[in-house]
Symmetry: C2
Subunit: 453 residues, 2 copies
């Protein structure tokens, strides 16, 4: 009997898949990264399934690639030769939702937007909202420390994670953190697991913080600018005025054209950038009026302000189309640099310069309030991986981001796609310590090898 | 030549103190914990001094106890026999303060309130405000992940720490984190250092997040209640209504009496608890009016509302007197349990029951919005350490907090004082992993041995 047949026998019927075609669809994320030939897929339905799987993997020295919705953009969930894929997508229970304590205990396969909707039945929300939140899972969001549109006000996934239940590589159960808003008992193992891309253990439940839904629906503006510098200045002015936007997105001309091609919204010839902002404060209309004024003061040619929740949704809807619109242009390498907010215009100009220098089409959207930019490098859909000029342009972009005091990745993670630049940012001391931590949690190096660090 | 004389020679004149009486005053924190006989004190003035000291300590296998303002309440900075005390109090430079990026880069000896004042010159603030913030340092706040009054709205120290410069035990320099609002490059070493009580490395600089000062000064209320349950219900109602208080403090009868003895504010016979709350929202007067109404709806006998910033300060001033007022009653064992907010009244009642059961005087204040309580156990000032009945009552309090889903320490840390209960909360798997992490960073076990984990 092959070892994987023994695993299949130890789990319930149908939990282990070994058909190569089926495996292949579980071995990829949303990037172009080609997987290897994994051994099989486990569809875990419980913590016990995870324990059984990891004990088996340790016994047989089989690498394990944990996986949620497969929506990652860094190649962190792609699986190589001989690996076992451990899908947590069936662990979908919301074990507890406590309105009084404003927390929920959820399993990793819960779709992020489903948790948000469940919370809203109690007047609460789950704040982190990566653009993928209708298809990505809490487990994947935790593994990558996902950000999102609202995190300019409410923080990233780590800021909502209070405690974790984890199965270690050897099958032991670890409980980290707490159910309380504060706590400092020992080292912050919860924060360590968030963003570790499945390399330290497999999260089987998370205690997350919920927040009160603002009393009034958000008010929104969309401002058009004739230059990126003006749009960047408006962002700086809005943040400096203490407006506390709950969303602040910048869209460049190339992306606007792609969106306009998909759904004509009447893009003006002179519009080089659009800024979409939102306030969910109790005096949100006054705040949006101030933000409108600051846009006009900084050179906006036109500002639309929502007069109803529907109009507000329509303005945000344009932003939500960005990724789909770009995917129509070709294959995409999506990057994720983050820079100090004051140098956002410099970073955008550096991206444009890199596009010209290397003859590459780059469309950029930015979570501008956080200084987090997503330049999307477009290349021929027929190619297996990006051509040399795309990598060269990406190299320019990363190098420039680091020179500006920025980071390689604001919210997507390192995966395999950013490993080639990792040493530039982390440096040898940090990398050695991270390898040391990895060895403490996973001495055999079985969990998602080659990712994150 | 003794090894410490070699260290003194390697540093500038006057950096090393060896007079036993002088050493003793550097070997204590604000608890009753008796230090041992440390070897000496280094008054580090630069990162180079820290490197020199730690290289020397590694060479001679001397344990090192890093130290900031010495205001800790957990015995985390107390020094034992043969240890070298490394004071960072002279490293006071604010290396950078960037209003545009809303960050500062500060050395560990900067007094927390001084950073806040420096930020306010630019319309910014440093949000974490432990009660000790006029005498405690950023380094100590980072080492303990200090909380404070404002953290009900703005989070704890970890939420403001973006990146660190650290000297490792062997003298190597580690840079963690970033200058950006978001970032997910590798494991979260910044979060790991925050709260690690100097056991992993010595922080020599921190990049911290600043926030915009609210446009209007905060508005404040103080509500008197005839029962703790009513006060707890008012807290729950205020939080559930989404009022987002910027401060929400509960003071029990025993503490109110101590404050009234110190400064007579006309404490009524029927007042069992006082709730002091604040809003710094742009519509703060309306929010405070709502909170006032919710207090009255939940049985408050009287609510005072500030009509000016001065009155606001006076109301908060009562809360600020709590610790000094209690210190007049005797020696204090200050505890720091944190529970889910919904069980705050249960926890207060359990504290009162423990006081009666063991015949111990306990005064309690709580950061009620966070569920974080500080029961202060009063004992005879002549005693070297708390008598058996105080430990027995503390044992009851901790056990009850854990049964309610709470934690041993919300913001003060473990130090040596909470180690006797640590295994109850953390469990053997987490403790083993934390020891493993410690060994990665400090393989010789020289940094603040016996603390935190």
């Amino acid at each position: 009997m092959r070892p994987i047949d023994a695993l299949a026998r130890a789990l319930s019927d149908g939990r282990v898949l070994t058909d190569p075609d089926v495996i292949d669809s579980y071995a990829r994320d949303r990037t172009f990264v080609s997987p290897g030939k994994p051994l099989g897929v486990v569809l875990a339905a419980s913590r016990d399934d995870v324990v059984t799987t990891l004990r088996w993997a340790t016994e047989h020295r089989v690498p394990v690639v944990p996986r949620g919705g497969g929506t990652g953009l860094a190649g962190a969930a792609t699986a190589g030769d001989g690996a076992l894929i451990l899908s947590l997508a069936r662990m979908k229970a919301i074990r507890e939702l406590s309105p009084a304590d404003e927390i929920a205990v959820v399993e990793p396969g819960v779709i992020t937007a489903d948790l948000d909707r469940a919370a809203r039945e109690h007047g609460l929300m789950y704040a982190p909202d990566p653009s993928s939140y209708e298809i990505s899972t809490i487990g994947g969001n935790l593994a990558t420390n996902a950000g999102g549109l609202r995190c300019v006000k409410y923080g990233v996934t780590r800021d909502s994670a209070l405690g974790l239940e984890v199965v270690l590589a050897d099958g032991r159960i670890l409980n980290t953190g707490r159910r309380t808003m504060k706590g400092v008992t020992g080292y912050d193992l919860t924060g360590l697991f968030v963003g570790s891309e499945g390399t330290l253990g497999v999260i089987t439940a998370a205690t997350v913080r919920l927040r009160r839904v603002p009393e009034r629906p958000p008010a929104t503006f969309a401002a058009e600018f004739g230059s990126l510098r003006d749009a960047g200045a408006a962002v700086a002015a809005i943040m400096a005025a203490g407006c506390q936007p709950s969303l602040m997105e910048l869209i460049d001309r190339a992306t606007l054209e792609a969106i306009n091609d998909l759904r004509n919204f009447g893009l003006e010839a002179g519009t080089i950038a659009m800024l979409i902002g939102q306030s969910d404060a109790s005096d949100n209309e006054a705040v949006v009026a101030r933000m409108e004024r600051l846009c006009l003061d900084n050179g906006a040619s036109f500002v639309a302000v929502s007069s109803s929740p529907q109009e507000s949704e329509e303005l945000i809807g344009l932003r939500r189309l960005a990724y789909d619109a770009k995917e129509r242009l070709g294959a995409c390498l999506v990057e994720d640099v983050c820079v100090p907010r004051s140098v956002l215009p410099d970073m955008i100009e550096a991206i444009e310069a890199a596009a010209v220098r290397h003859g590459v089409k780059i469309c950029t959207v930015a979570h501008a309030g956080d200084g987090n930019l997503h330049p999307v490098f477009i290349f021929d859909r027929g190619m297996i991986e990006p051509p040399a000029e795309v990598w060269a342009a990406a190299d320019d972009v990363f190098t420039h981001a680091l020179e500006l005091g920025g980071t390689l990745t604001g919210e997507h993670g390192v995966g395999v796609l950013k490993k080639r630049w990792l040493a530039l940012e982390a440096g040898p001391v940090a990398q050695e310590l991270q390898q040391g931590i990895k060895a403490v949690f996973d001495p055999l190096g079985l969990l998602n090898p080659g990712k994150a660090i």
